[in-house]
Symmetry: C2
Subunit: 357 residues, 2 copies
């Protein structure tokens, strides 16, 4: 049995007892029942995920995975491909948006090279899981082999498992995970994945990414249509979709989601690229769904189709379209707030407050 | 000239230079221009408010004002009136939702008695601005005199001015303010205010508050309709509306908004009751509008009409309907995140990242 199949087999359903206990406690806290809306529901979901009626978080981690895309040669992005490694260095130096927001919410950032096209120098905070130096151009053939696709997902499982229960004592284990991505051109595979899996027209799920003009958008749509016609991904076989039109960071993030679910750790998924990864994870293991929390609704048009397919309602809607895990960072803060409400508020009895008449 | 008129006269427009500088810096940060959506716009607004191209916050404060309502005797709330002082004690002991969320976002909570119906014992952290022991039942006459209405607003100005520049050295000055409320029955005056000022039908802007049943909702609507017919508040005279159908905590919160704007401090307004206060503040001083940031969209149906009238787009939509400042606390965290992005991110030049091709 492969590591992937073994991990999928370890995913259990949410814990009903913890959810019942959390619901009962929410209803005893000094507020009208349900008055904190989605924060209450979120805390109960997380109780079920963690099997703990009063979950507390000590160490959030944002896992940001980077990869390059052969299809970027087709002129589908507004930025040159060398920006991928440049931004990886920016992450490692702490100057990117994800670093700022991770500090704001008290999370650490884990930067992973899943398949950047250039050689990156060793760095103590860079996790090297490079499957290959970028995917192949999927407008002329599959992006990667099926074996590479599986290895990308399994690398994601290994990374998140190591973050949750580090083998060295140097750092504490992550207890809530956010996902993020970096990869010039990676809205193109993400649109291809959502088109393939949800069987929608490419034009319906393809947006401007970092900001291509009208001609760039038309080229992007035509490129994806050509790729789907050529590679014929099987929507019922997520590894086939990933290998035909995916990306290494997308596969890695799918693995992060599966690995976190297997360890009963909540996963806050970022925007469009993380959404594509979630489609792959959900295709491989539908049991991952209740472990996923959608941080925000991306500006990217195809994100709505993803969230609908995944039956997820995002927490935030702030017109974000950056990726990196920026939305996930803010979403993690909302999750922690929801759990603090559940854990720290006084009950009617403790506070001597009269209940509803 | 009254203190109120003097303070209104001190409100200036947002600072164009600071906003231009903030916009220019946002466009040089290592992300596609505009990719952080509303966070970027928010940081620029706050730059204009604070007259600082890189605003930094050290001390957020949530000002939660409490008051009782004579109209509660008409059976318009699901909770008995004694809950107002009980919740004030809960705030002072740190067990309420607002305390939990204030700790989560690093804010202090300032609890103000604007008009609780009972005598509250002195407490070092309770600010006593009691105008009267609850308003009068506005279904049989005005809620308060015009002089009381003015004094409530001026008390709010005094409280926020003291928080921003404390006269003792014991605590640092607040540099971003959130508003909150506590008062059994206070969705009723809030619905009356929004109906009076926006000239909408009472049934269109009246919801279930903390959870009245169908009969309670019908009673609430009929009570407000009777009050408006009897007291005839003048929609063009916000002090008249406040005195006819308002509340002491609502007047106080209007003063907080006006006082903060006069000191160039951003005000993050909570949900429905803070929205009613914002309608009063805006009626008294339209120049307050650009200083207001709407934290969230409340479940209370009349909140949409308020936000539309105030031309504010809320940051969050989490089905909250608690009040206390809970939504404002989360909104403050988003504002701080937005300003940290502006201040802490590396520019393309600093990070050696290629710009858009």
């Amino acid at each position: 049995m492969s590591q992937l199949d073994k991990t999928i087999g370890e995913i259990q359903s949410l814990d009903d007892d913890a959810m019942r206990a959390a619901r009962a406690r929410q209803d005893q806290l000094t507020k009208p029942q349900g008055a904190l809306g989605r924060l209450e529901a979120l805390s109960i979901q997380i109780a079920g995920i963690t099997r703990d009626a009063r979950p507390r978080f000590k160490q959030p981690a944002l896992i940001t995975m980077a990869g390059d895309h052969g299809v970027a040669r087709q002129g589908v992005s507004a930025y040159p491909a060398e920006v991928t490694p440049q931004m990886v260095f920016n992450f490692l130096r702490g100057g990117a948006a994800i670093n700022v927001l991770a500090r704001h919410v008290g999370a650490r950032v884990v930067v992973v090279d899943m398949g950047v096209a250039s050689d990156l120098p060793a760095h103590p905070e860079l996790v090297n899981c490079k499957i290959a130096k970028g995917t192949r151009d999927f407008s002329i053939g599959p992006a990667m082999t099926r074996d590479e696709a599986r290895r990308a997902v399994e690398a994601g499982i290994a990374v998140v498992t190591q973050e949750i229960a580090p083998s060295t004592g140097a750092q504490s284990g992550a207890d809530i995970i956010g996902t993020g991505d970096m990869g010039i051109g990676n809205t193109t595979p993400s649109s291809a994945i959502v088109a393939a899996i949800t069987r929608r027209a490419v034009a319906q799920v393809t947006g401007r990414g970092t900001g291509v003009d009208d001609a760039g958008l038309a080229r992007k749509i035509a490129t994806i249509e050509r790729a789907l016609a050529l590679n014929k991904p099987n929507p019922n076989d997520a590894l086939d979709v990933l290998s035909d039109v995916g990306g290494f960071e997308i596969g890695g993030l799918a693995g992060v989601m599966i690995g976190a679910a297997a360890r009963r750790v909540p996963v806050v998924i970022d925007g469009f690229i993380s959404g594509a990864a979630a489609l792959i994870a959900y295709g491989l293991a539908p049991s991952v769904q209740p472990y996923l929390i959608a941080a925000h609704r991306s500006v990217e048009i195809g994100h709505r189709a993803m969230l609908e397919h995944l039956r997820l309602e995002p927490l935030l809607d702030l017109d974000l379209r950056l990726g990196e895990g920026t939305g996930a960072a803010l979403g993690i803060s909302i999750c922690i707030a929801a759990c603090k409400i559940l854990d720290e508020m006084a009950t009617f009895g403790e506070a001597g407050v009269a209940e509803k008449g």
